[in-house]
């Protein structure tokens, strides 16, 4: 850590001020990986918003000539990635499927993070007793096989999108809870928390203003990693017929359905799998960039990156 720092003379201080004024898009532009990731996520967001309206018909349009068609230009531009067993355009289905896939995964992860994060902060900061109750509840959820839990819940309730999200979020919550609690236990011992208490701040103020901002980047990172596993869990449930119900499409469902044809038509499972991978990878890269860009102590790494390259 920076324990040795020199007193900046006024000139240096000004230089620092000028550098700080650099807007975030310039920082993003400098980091090419993060830039590509951001572009890809923008494209996905675009698909998510207008995909079904734009290509909804194409995605369900049967074309028996293109049944299990291999990727190529033979069947027109929409079949460039091939066709599924009913001859529907794989590309259109991928674009249309983005909405369900991403919204389910994102909502589930977001709920898990919010609930887990809040409970974790309470467990870490409030008394022993409350902490014990919360942690044992987390143990119960975690010790139960998540797939089994999902099967039971979705079998008893209707397999609707809302229920699916709740089940996925519940099984993910303990991860956020544990990480948050562990971080809070460490951060609450730091001197600045004491310093804030000495200024007369209450528990809620400290949790919100001093602890939450430091835990947040860690949660964001877990969230992006979790994003992929939630998509895959969702596909598993869809495969069992208790997730997203078929005429609706998700990438996970496409992977699951394509598995039967893996030997004859690999592209059925490959392209949706690729979409899941790229979406997760982009989210990961962008989140680690975001982590650096929002951390005042680390931000200079992004700022000096280019200069070092110029020097070479």
């Amino acid at each position: 850590m920076t324990t040795v720092t020199t007193t900046p003379t006024s000139g240096e201080a000004e230089a620092v001020i000028i550098r700080r004024a650099q807007p975030w898009w310039q920082l993003l532009w400098r980091d090419k990986f993060a830039c590509v990731a951001a572009v890809w996520l923008t494209v996905l967001a675009f698909c998510l918003i207008i995909g079904p309206e734009l290509l909804g018909d194409t995605a369900t349009q049967l074309n028996l000539r293109a049944r299990n068609a291999a990727p190529g230009f033979d069947n027109g531009p929409m079949w460039i990635l091939g066709g599924d067993p009913l001859g529907r355009s794989l590309l259109a289905r991928l674009i249309v499927g983005a909405r369900n896939t991403i919204s389910v995964a994102l909502t589930a992860v977001f709920i898990a993070m919010t609930v887990g994060g809040t409970l974790g902060m309470v467990a870490g900061y409030v008394g022993k007793w409350v902490s014990h109750v919360i942690m044992r509840l987390a143990d119960v959820v975690q010790s139960f096989p998540s797939l089994l839990l999902a099967v039971i819940v979705l079998y008893m309730l209707e397999p609707r999108v809302g229920n699916l999200i709740i089940v996925l979020a519940t099984t993910r919550t303990p991860i956020y809870l544990r990480v948050t609690r562990a971080e809070v236990l460490e951060i609450r011992e730091r001197v600045f928390v004491d310093a804030s208490r000495a200024l007369g701040s209450g528990r809620f103020h400290i949790l919100r203003n001093h602890i939450a901002p430091i835990v947040a980047p860690t949660l964001l990172t877990i969230m992006t990693v979790d994003f992929a596993s939630v998509m895959l869990s969702e596909s598993g449930l869809s495969f069992l017929g208790i997730g997203i119900q078929p005429p609706a499409i998700t990438w996970g469902l496409m992977v699951a359905q394509g598995r039967n044809y893996l030997a004859q038509a690999w592209w059925l499972a490959f392209f949706p799998g690729l979409m899941i991978m790229f979406a997760t990878l982009s989210a990961n890269i962008l989140s680690s960039w975001l982590r650096l860009a929002t951390d005042p102590v680390q931000r200079w790494r992004l700022e000096t990156h280019k200069k070092e390259e110029d020097d070479k």
Partner: protein, 332 residues
């Protein structure tokens, strides 16, 4: 001093309960801070000075810590028994604290301006923009160059001395009556130390703020304090006016401290270290806790805890042989 004391700590006892033993960090400490004056609490590591300060600021972790006795009267109320909600209204406003490690005491993810403004916001003093303005003014007051621009800087962009200035700005933001400074200059180099001490002295003079300065540095004590309380093994063993105490100490520990301090007076002069090590706070020696290391120790010291003796006007010493020590020259 006929003034009514601002803070009067009587017989403060603090323990830490660990698995097997009870560590008695503070064993009945008495000290008094007078309005507008500076009290230095002097002592080596583990003498209970920081724990006393934390206890008064209600920052002590309970458990493992436990306040087992004593009172701390501040503005006529015992702050140790005050409900936490009430105390929160007071802390920061009436009593504030500066910590040893300024980098650790500042939140790394917020600008210093935000953190100073936080003080105002906690106590609902003023609006967000006004708080920020006042933060800038405070930074200027504590002597940070280009203060108005630097409010937007983060703690790691400041030097050690500057950070401690920021901490002081935060602590004095609401013009407290009492500032507790827990070794504010220990992590800094000597020239910066002097500047920081001067700053604290100036602010205290300007606003009539009392200061409790916790330190192990004799030089700092002479420089800024009005009265001093010397702590050893969780007790205040000697107290009184700074000049008197350091000129004619009446407790062997104070005497030994003075003799062991390096002073460039004569070439080749040898230091006289205090032999032995500080006592194990879980198993204090019987009688006077300093007797194993004391040159004056006699039989009675091993058997009986010494009474508090008044050796002169406003001077106390906890030693069976206080009068003898009092007449001992500091430099033999």
């Amino acid at each position: 001093m006929a003034d009514k004391p601002l803070l009067e700590v009587r017989d403060l006892k603090v323990e830490f309960r660990t698995g097997r033993e009870i560590v008695k960090a503070v064993n009945g400490a008495n000290f008094t801070a007078n309005p507008g004056k500076t009290l230095a609490i002097l002592g080596e590591s583990g003498s209970g000075k920081s724990v006393s300060a934390q206890t008064i600021m209600r920052l002590l972790q309970i458990p493992p810590g436990a306040i087992t006795g004593g009172t701390a009267m501040f503005h006529g109320v015992d702050i140790l028994k005050m409900p936490m909600d009430e105390w929160r209204q007071m802390s920061g406003k009436k009593m504030a604290m500066v910590f040893q490690d300024a980098l650790a005491s500042l939140n790394p993810v917020f600008t210093v301006g935000w953190q100073i403004a936080e003080t105002f916001r906690i106590h609902g003093e003023c609006s967000r923009s006004e708080a920020f303005d006042r933060a800038g003014a405070l930074l200027e007051r504590v002597g940070i160059p280009a203060a108005r621009d630097r409010v937007k800087d983060f703690p790691h962009q400041f030097s050690g001395g500057m950070r401690q200035r920021v901490m002081i700005a935060m602590a004095v933001a609401l013009k407290p009556d009492l500032l507790i400074a827990d070794e504010p200059t220990t992590a800094l180099d000597v020239t910066v130390q002097a500047q920081i001490m001067d700053l604290i002295k100036d602010i205290s003079k300007e606003s009539g703020m009392s200061v409790i300065l916790i330190t192990h540095d004799l030089g700092v004590v002479v420089d800024v304090a009005d009265t001093v309380a010397v702590m050893y093994a969780g007790r205040v063993v000697e107290g009184g006016n700074v000049i008197d105490v350091l000129k004619q100490p009446a407790h062997p520990y104070t005497l030994a401290l003075l003799r062991s301090a390096p002073q460039a007076r004569e070439k080749g002069e040898r230091l006289q270290p205090i032999f032995g090590s500080p006592p194990d706070l879980a198993n204090l020696p019987t009688g006077c806790s300093f007797h194993p290391r004391c040159a004056f120790a006699t039989d009675i010291c091993r058997r009986q805890a010494p009474p508090i003796k008044s050796v002169a006007e406003g001077r106390i010493s906890e030693c069976h042989h206080a009068e003898t020590v009092h007449h001992e020259p500091v430099h033999a």
